[in-house]
Symmetry: D2
Subunit: 342 residues, 4 copies
């Protein structure tokens, strides 16, 4: 890291900082500039050295050179990670589509929608059994009963079940039913939960928190990876900005940017990313064109009767049309077919 | 709520929407405007009706009239809630100051700092035993050992111990040692955790998430209140914006705004809100002037040796000077003395 | 608009508000709810009535029903506006590509790049002669000499020249050389400038300000339209958010959202929207897939020697490859060919 | 500046970059780290060198060490700049209060309000004659007639007139009537305007743009300073964030932060910063406590009849009470009296 000294730092202060750097087991390299002295600390270890130095009075700022994440980085592993579960394949050129309702509402609903999204090309089924809701007065999900219904829908269709787990105490139960465990955006920095799912052998889908930086997002993945679970999918689902016309702001540049930084696959959730059903199809096509490894989509047989997120859910028919469009874009770009297992 | 129909909505569509509103147990009131028809739905119940209506094709938007929170609102209870724990009194005119290190590091450190902050006027002691850290490679806290050290510091000083609990499984353990349970910013929407602390009889301090709206913040409190625990303290600790020169952006207008909306006390954390020690004293004075019910501050005997958050920690001496200034501002505004139990 | 009265508003206050609404020439319609009284004001005129009402003590909030823009709205004109200038055609299904360097640097540079971008399929040539630079110490453009070089490049290629005008006093001069006048993001709310370009007969390309809401963006267009100039192109170029890894955050959902609200064409500038050359090609493809009516791109023969914006400029070769990809996506989506005049 | 090479940069690439740095007249200093090579470029000149280097393929990032502004920095001039105009004194410990209506509406209105704000302690009179309005259909100000009325109010009271100039062509006219020229938030990066006011001999008050970084804000001041006009006042008036309950988010930490970086005085506008009249008094007191050099406030004899910004205007009575409170806070902090010329 680069330690920039204050303009009026004396030689004694500079020497004191050098000693502190050396006590950290790093090599210090002094560079005397025209207006500032700068010290390069070589051998950065990413364990809080930066914080310590920045709190010294004589230090103006500390600039990290290395990214704070390790295992997730393309430097640790160059080839893309491919996550597979049943026919769902995400990463390494494969585009996996996970679709389904916001909440599991009944056996009839989830089986019907599973069959419809499978027919249109999805290989993963989403559906919330445990629902984190902003208000305690909103529908909170069918809980374990919802998980059972998801398992029934999987039986019927073969789709990989992707569902959210909200707290460490539920990890074992949800893992009994799910094929992929989802960490919701509100829990992206719930570290006990990340550690708990990191101990399972299931793939983990982590949704980006609405105010998470890219570094924070990758460090959340790092919590899972650090437990030995290397099957992590990153999901961009929109960030919170001043824009109020959409529910969140969906920054698709995250996709190619992450592809430069990490080997983990990156998928996009345009349902939450826009919050408006009519914007979802064009943003699906755009995500494919931007290079996404997959899509996470809300589809409901009758959005106006959905118990949650109706405003952003596609009808099965619009979903099917969207899949046709996405497939065309993927083919035009020479990407792998979207709905075939690999 | 107000349902705005699309410009080209036909009479049949309007009638369909009216029926849907009536099925919800609400009264519908049609208003034909010059360019739009609008339907007022009277008797709003805050249970997801809005979501359902907004997903109907013929509806352009739905505008809620009532706030989504209930128990937290000044309409439910006009007089300010006063939270008391030992000599710490927050709300109803009382200003409580909670100070201490980011992390508990050793018995010597925590007892020394507790004595120093008490001497300067604090009535609460903060100190992290379980530390949520962005990176899995950073110091994660002393855990239960840290709680024990906090209890020793309480013994020595009588200060009320305020410490974070990160996951439902730890609530009982942390509650055995703490006087006030803190919900960190990353966990503001960790609903199982909010419910678990809501079941204790301790006061709960909830830190605002960095991208939480005011409604979301109050609904997080509502999760606790809904469990029957009415001792909730709200803490503004800065939001994430494009500003990069400070760690977060500290919007002090939240204080008077919340005072108009809720009876719950509102405190401010300028340490996280700025991330820069030199900005903390002026922002403490500003928070008092804005009407805050308390301050949450990081103080460390030697910030440059802190295991976390050194850059934003005050030295005990600067903390003492800051308290003198805050007391002067409080007195100038005719507010209650800051360091006296009530 | 909908006027929500405070909970404790008396009948007298309600009647006073009704009178105030009627004095504005509007009809007032009282709706008594369970917790609030609401007054619908019918005949909204968008002239500041809302502001006046919201400042009344007894009024809690005022919710507008109609959008504040008029001429730009799809309600005023359903069919898409097509802007044409030489072979550049934008809107109504046509995708126009405007490419060139950030700044005009020399005759050789601008003519060479013009020929190269034309060859690859661009029909518009961008190039700054008057450069708004954040620092007064940065290169400010060649000014009128730059305009002359742009005219020479147009002679050589037939491309339509798109260039920025920064202040009303320059409008006439720039209009003598340019085919399309560009209003930069920093000037999106420079109303005297918008009015001045609105008086010309040239098409006007307005870049979205980095913190402009959609309503503010459309109202900026409305300033131009209001002068009688109906040839306005809207350009999404990224907004300012907490994301620091890209220069701005590029919200492509703006494209389909604006298409629902306005008949004006919407183009995208991924060069400024990302600030990183490697992210530009995938975001071009994504913009096409999202339905953009055009692209505005920075291309420089040697980005590392550019006098401005080198980091986000494509080489001519990468630009040509990007055009091939974009054309494939456009064809896959059944959109009009991109480089053919219509 | 610090040039961080890509991980796979070869020796040849490193040498190429060194040569490029040397061609800029800078000294290059190579530091070989464990994972990266870094080059310190000594003698930074702030003329675009950074941009050039960052666009080189082999360079990962370029970190500036020096701030981009010069004349505005505390390094160029340590002692605070004090701006004086008539009895208005801002900076160097003096707190100047500028109050008045958003728009000048009539002679009676402006003279009455001028007398009232003077009585309560203001030494500056604000009032818009040229009004930048988001909508072309809103009241645009009385223009030169408004300037004449401001001059009449100054005659009557002796208050220094602070009013906005929107475009270079009006600078001379506005300067004939005004004591201080205001650059509005929308024009903070209108460089021709900044240069034009920089050529006058009047003090210039620059409002921060709602998405301007601190560097951009100081560089806007630098445009004025660079013309030789050293009487610049910076005004924090709120930034645009995701918070929708207030009109803007008012980050008071800007005040102490800027005081560390610049000698220019910093004032606060809580009227625009909150947009809600009831929040203005506490935020005025908070701004004083945070160390502001002045306040800019909207006061209107009858806010509900204001032609603009009624919702955020104080009545003269509330303004007078607010001044009493602010004076108490200033005295408690040992600051100079607020309403006495110096």
């Amino acid at each position: 890291m680069i330690v920039v000294m204050k303009r009026d730092a004396t030689d004694a202060m500079i020497q004191k900082t050098v000693r502190r750097i050396e006590q950290m087991g790093l090599k210090a390299h002094i560079i005397v500039g025209t207006e500032r002295t700068v010290i390069a600390a070589i051998g950065e270890k990413r364990n809080g050295e930066r914080e310590t130095l920045v709190s010294c009075d004589e230090v103006e700022k500390v600039v990290p050179i290395l990214a704070p994440y390790k295992v997730a980085s393309t430097e640790a592993k160059a080839e893309p990670t491919v996550v597979r579960s049943r026919d769902l394949v995400i990463g390494g050129g494969h585009i996996g589509v996970i679709a389904g309702p916001c909440s599991v509402e009944s056996e009839e609903q989830i089986v019907e929608i599973a069959e419809q999204v499978k027919l249109a090309g999805a290989t993963g089924l989403r559906g919330g059994a445990f629902k984190p809701r902003t208000s305690p007065y909103s529908f909170q999900g069918l809980k374990e009963q919802g998980l059972k219904l998801l398992a029934i829908a999987r039986e019927a269709t073969g789709l990989a079940v992707v569902t959210e787990v909200m707290t460490p105490a539920h990890v074992e139960m949800v893992a009994n039913y799910a094929d992929v465990l989802q960490i919701g955006a509100r829990n992206m920095q719930n570290y006990p939960l990340l550690q708990a799912v990191g101990e399972t052998e299931l793939p983990i889908l982590i949704k980006r928190g609405p105010s998470a930086t890219i570094d924070e997002f990758l460090l959340a993945a790092e919590y899972v990876l650090d437990q030995g679970n290397r099957q992590v999918i990153l999901c961009e689902r929109g960030i919170r900005t001043f824009e109020a016309h959409t529910r969140f702001t969906l920054p698709l540049a995250t996709v190619p940017y992450l592809h430069e930084r990490t080997h983990l696959p990156v998928i996009v959730d345009p349902s939450h990313g826009t919050g408006i059903a009519s914007l979802v199809p064009p943003m699906c096509a755009a995500a494919i064109a931007a290079g996404t490894d997959g899509l996470l989509l809300e589809v409901h047989p009758d959005p106006s009767r959905a118990l949650s997120d109706g405003a952003q859910s596609l009808t099965p028919q619009v979903f099917a049309e969207t899949m046709v469009t996405c497939r065309k874009v993927a083919e035009a770009l020479g990407r792998a077919p979207m709905d075939v297992s690999a």
